[in-house]
């Protein structure tokens, strides 16, 4: 498997650390309530299809990356710097 780091280019999967769903970017307000925090931390979809994950190019430049990929075809549809994505979602 290969992922395209927005900084370094296409690299072998072994250079990357996988974290999980990119929902992690949308950290709730401290006062958002138990249900919202529970969802944020624990509840995840398991899509057969397109999913967005957070990976870190830990064995490379260190950038955290949002990877959009298809769990059925393994196609990697898009990669973007997490800091850019976070900047745009606020």
């Amino acid at each position: 498997m290969r992922l395209t780091c927005p900084v370094c280019g296409e690299r072998d999967r072994r250079e990357f650390y996988y974290m999980g769903d990119a929902v992690a970017l949308r950290r709730p307000d401290p006062e958002a309530g138990d249900a919202v925090w529970d969802d944020y931390l624990h509840n995840r979809d398991n899509p057969a299809g397109v999913t967005r994950d957070l990976w870190q190019h830990e064995g490379g430049c260190g950038a955290w990356i949002v990877v959009t990929r298809n769990t059925m075809t393994h196609e990697v549809l898009e990669t973007a710097l997490a800091s850019d994505v976070k900047g745009s979602v606020g």
């Binding site: 290969r2 992922l3 992690a24 925090w37 393994h74 800091s83």
Partner: protein, 976 residues
């Protein structure tokens, strides 16, 4: 038997080798199989389940029968296909799965027990009684049913792994692959051509047909010569592409030195990860057998294999050869044999419309229905419209048609489709992104067609790569149509083999269907057809056809099982190459390593680091003696310990303080420059992640310390928090763990020691408790932190790593002069237990700030990672197991870590467990064992008696619960 004047082997280069204890001769260029056949060796192996004698069946990596063990002792290599193993001087091969010998195999009684060993016998026979599984069934099955054995010794062979990149990977070097590679290479593409054989050419080496007016093998060599001269081409011989993976990655096993008597330092195998922008599969096809009664006797082979042995190796596998076929292709074998002067006793063709011959009798509409011969084929019984008859023969060449080697196209879950024309499965477009197919693996079974498709596929690839190409002439080649009429299994009684490797017969498949294991995936698992090394290569399509027939469905509806990587077996050693011995993980050494080893310190692993356990003094015979002395030394004089392995992270930027406030539970933006503060870090779920001290070196400059174990994860976490949660903060981080060699200098004499070394005066005003700053030590700019992990007046002094060795030795000498010395991990552990300081033994991933009594460190003035969730109900009450100290009070004085805590008098069972111990040690200071642990509602239970039970070590100790700070609870010493 060798045939004069035939073959590509080097008759000037005889090679002697041993098989089953006897010495034989072959020639350079022989495989073990061809050399054995040349020596008229027919029985090469015993079958998996029934221990039937088996001979060579094919001539390639798909071989199902002739599995042997190469070498002996630690280096022995089991389950090697004799058809792939090239011979070399001194090669030692042994048959396997037979006892006591190949010819007298006592376990062949299994053959008589065959009625009980049919489909699903594992599931039916060994169900009960349950107790028999481990003691009886499994050992017996393992002994009698098995393949080759492992040596059970360390593998002494060297293996390698490697990465390669190319524009185009061509898989298979037959006519399609060669011309595809040539087309792309001439256009300037970076090409890798891999073939599992030692010789490129594929079927061309086993056939006499010409290509471009010259013998096929010569044409192949001419292309190889051209490719070899091109700098943009990498030819990989003896390299099987074993798997197709995501994003154009392919796995390939190169057998580097299996064919060499003297490897000259080369690895045995190399496992390649090839990244190709495009790939073309030109893997050819495999001839399939036909199932008929007793079709597994030595001497029964595929027709193409017989032709290969004749044309490539100059070997006739028999003296009176018969053929059985359902297609035209097999008749080439008969023609070539006759041309070479080998006697053909008969050709049986199941079809009526059959090519003519004057050279041998042809039986049309004929089927072979049985064979006989004890240790090899002696005769075949065949059936025509006029009844059954028998012919004496020592070799039967069988062809049931060809199955495209499309395996790799299925590795990413692609499904092939059924072709009526060739009666087999063929790949469809796009099964693996970027991979095209050409030639026989695509169902095109003529040389001309293969060449055409090879060029076409290369041009498609070049277009996709954006590389311009010139027209290439396709040489003239054989183009006879392939005509096949389906014949999978000859009707009749008795056992007719489908999967030779696993002893699966037509009857087994039918029985599976009858017992409603009618799905192809269920049938496979129930009968074991296509499992083990065969992987369906020989048996798959025929077994499906039999299943289709038994269930009344068509073959396309029945479908095929899933082909998965690897295409050929890959040794674990090759996949894990580089990870043997010291390659398993990097070793991290501190700058004081050599000095510690010189002192005789046993080193223990702390993650990847090596740290000294203790420093034995003369006369000390146990580690406890050393540890006790080192602890006393720190408490009474001064000790020196290398703490460089703790993670150190440089954090800088205008927002550094704000960032630390967010990742730590407590405040850091308020920390004064030149001061250090203890910090607690939570995971977002409220669990403690790590702790450590962070020093403020400047207005916008902090240095964070992490525990040794968490250095990597904390760095990752900080980057995550910054990049993913608060990228607006202007802060940057870099590890400085390696930059600084840092030593703890601890004990009442620590200040005296340092004052003799540094330029400025260290006193309570210049360096108060938790003070930090730059310092010059013997001309070197370093850093000094007044922090303590022992509870004593202590410092940590850091210098650039190149001076670490020098400073460590200097500190050691000076400490010893003051009645102190070095201390290791054991003493460090006891010192911190005496003080109730936690490590990852306590913050093990399930405890909260409340559990360790630090809930007040979660600042109410700000948000931080983990704050919200740390306030959840259930994480902050008397139901929690809380950090406590434990002291033995009964006759048993010992404590152990990992033991469970129970109320006094309670039965020590799981439901009664109230907590557990995490760290224990013998305290020479307090003259007894001390323990840290977690106890339900423990903080309210100080003074209570509990029972510590270690079920593993069989220990029960009465304990008193107390505060976790055992020594100097007022903290006077650290400030003194």
């Amino acid at each position: 038997m060798r045939i004069a004047g035939k073959g590509l082997v080097d008759r000037q280069a005889p090679v002697s080798f041993r098989f089953d204890g006897h010495t034989y001769q072959g020639f350079a260029g022989d495989t073990l199989a061809s050399a054995l056949l040349a020596n008229d060796i027919r029985v090469v192996a015993r079958s998996f389940k029934y221990h039937r004698p088996r001979g060579v069946m094919g001539a390639g990596s798909e071989e199902a029968n002739a599995l042997v063990t190469i070498g002996s002792g630690a280096a022995q290599d089991p389950n090697v296909r004799a058809t792939v193993q090239e011979i070399y001087e001194g090669l030692e091969a042994r048959p396997q799965n037979c006892w006591p010998s190949l010819t007298v195999d006592l376990l062949s009684v299994n053959d008589l027990a065959a009625p009980f060993l049919g489909a699903g016998f594992y599931y039916k026979t060994f169900m009960w009684p349950r107790a028999f599984w481990e003691k009886l069934y499994e050992p017996v099955i393992r002994r009698s049913a098995g393949l080759g054995a492992l040596s059970h010794q360390h593998n002494p062979d060297a293996y390698e792994k490697a990465f390669a990149f190319c524009d185009l990977l061509v898989i298979g070097g037959g006519p399609a692959g060669l011309i595809a590679a040539l087309t792309a290479a001439r256009a300037g593409a970076d090409v890798i051509l891999a073939d599992e054989d030692s010789l490129f050419g594929g079927r061309l080496n086993g056939d006499v047909e010409t290509v471009g007016g010259m013998p096929g093998a010569e044409w192949a060599q001419s292309i190889v010569d051209e490719l070899e001269a091109m700098p943009n081409v990498r030819l990989m011989r003896r390299t099987t592409v074993t798997g197709a993976y995501d994003q154009g990655t392919y796995g390939a096993l190169e057998r580097v030195a299996h064919h060499l008597a003297d490897r000259g330092g080369q690895p045995l195998e190399c496992f390649w990860r090839i990244v190709a922008r495009r790939a073309i599969l030109c893997a050819g096809a495999i001839e399939r057998p036909i199932a008929f009664r007793n079709n597994d006797r030595p001497g029964i082979m595929t027709a193409s294999a017989v032709r290969t042995y004749l044309n490539r190796y100059g070997v006739a596998p028999g003296r009176r050869i018969t053929l059985f076929a359902n297609n035209d292709d097999a008749h080439r074998t008969a023609r070539d044999l006759v041309d070479a002067g080998v006697h053909i006793a008969a050709v049986f063709d199941s079809r009526r419309d059959v090519p003519e011959s004057n050279a041998y009798p042809i039986y049309r509409g004929a089927e072979v229905c049985n064979t006989s011969g004890r240790r090899g084929l002696e005769s075949v019984t065949f059936r025509t419209a006029s009844g059954e008859d028998k012919v004496e023969t020592d070799c039967l060449a069988v062809s049931g048609g060809w199955n495209p080697s499309l395996h790799l196209t299925c590795h990413m879950n692609g499904r092939p489709q059924w072709s009526e024309a060739i009666q087999s499965f063929v790949p469809v477009e796009g099964m693996v992104p970027g991979l095209d197919t050409a030639g026989a693996c695509r169902g095109t079974l003529t040389t001309h067609g293969a060449l055409q498709e090879g060029v076409a596929a290369a041009q498609v690839a070049l277009e996709a790569l954006g590389i311009a190409f010139d027209k290439i002439d396709i040489p003239e080649a054989e183009d006879a149509p392939y005509r096949v009429s389906p014949l999978w299994a000859v009707a009749g009684k008795g056992r007719a083999w489908l999967d030779f490797q696993n002893d699966v017969t037509v009857k087994d498949v039918k029985q599976a269907a009858k017992e409603n294991f009618a799905s192809v995936e269920h049938m496979k698992r129930y009968t074991t057809q296509g499992m083990s090394p065969d992987q369906g290569k020989n048996s798959n399509v025929a077994a499906l056809a039999v299943l289709a027939d038994a269930t009344g469905r068509g073959i396309p509806e029945t479908g095929t099982t899933t082909f998965r990587p690897p295409f050929v077996p890959v040794s674990i050693a090759a996949m894990g190459a580089g990870a043997q011995g010291a390659g398993f993980a990097p070793q991290r050494f501190t700058t004081s390593h050599a000095a510690s080893v010189e002192r005789g310190a046993p080193m223990i692993e702390a993650g990847l680091w090596y740290r000294p356990s203790y420093f034995p003094a003369p006369g000390e015979t146990t580690w406890r003696q050393s540890c006790d002395r080192e602890v006393n030394m720190v408490r009474n004089a001064v000790g020196v310990c290398d703490v460089s392995t703790l993670g150190k992270i440089d954090i800088q930027g205008p927002d550094a303080g704000a960032f630390l406030d967010f990742v730590y539970t407590n405040m850091f933006s308020t920390l004064k420059v030149g001061r250090t503060r203890y910090g607690l870090m939570l995971r977002e779920d409220g669990t403690v992640m790590d702790d450590g001290t962070t020093a403020r070196l400047g207005e916008t400059h902090f240095v964070m310390t992490t525990t040794t174990a968490a250095a990597g994860p904390v760095m990752r976490h900080l980057e995550y928090v910054h990049q993913c949660l608060c990228p607006e903060l202007d802060v940057s981080m870099i590890s400085v763990t390696e930059q600084w060699a840092q030593f703890a200098v601890a004990g009442p004499q620590s200040r005296a020691l340092l004052n003799a070394l540094v330029d400025e005066d260290i006193n309570d005003d210049t360096w108060p408790f938790m003070g930090c700053g730059d310092i010059i030590i013997q001309g070197v700019r370093g850093r000094l932190f007044r922090i303590s992990f022992s509870g004593e007046h202590a410092y940590e002094i850091a210098v650039p790593s190149r001076f670490g060795n020098g400073l460590f030795r200097e500190l050691t000498a000076r400490a010893e002069a003051l009645g102190g010395g070095l201390y290791g991990m054991e003493a460090l552990n006891v010192l911190r237990i005496e003080k109730g300081f936690i490590t990852h033994a306590e913050i093990h991933g399930r405890v909260t700030a409340f559990d360790i009594g630090m809930e007040r460190m979660v600042s109410q003035k700000k948000d931080c990672i983990g704050k919200t969730m740390s306030e959840r109900p259930g994480l902050n009450g008397p139901e929690r197991e809380q950090l406590v100290g434990l002291k033995p009070i009964g006759p048993v004085k010992q404590l152990t870590a990992g033991a469970h805590l129970f109320e006094k008098g309670a039965a020590p069972t799981r439901e009664n467990a109230q907590g557990y111990t995490t760290s224990v040690g013998f305290s020479p200071t307090l003259d007894g064992f001390l323990g840290l642990g977690f106890l339900r509602n423990g903080r309210a239970r100080h003074g209570e008696e509990v029972m510590m039970v270690d079920h593993l070590r069989n220990l029960t100790t009465r304990c008193k619960v107390c505060d976790p700070v055992f020594f100097d609870p007022e903290g006077g010493r650290v400030r003194g």
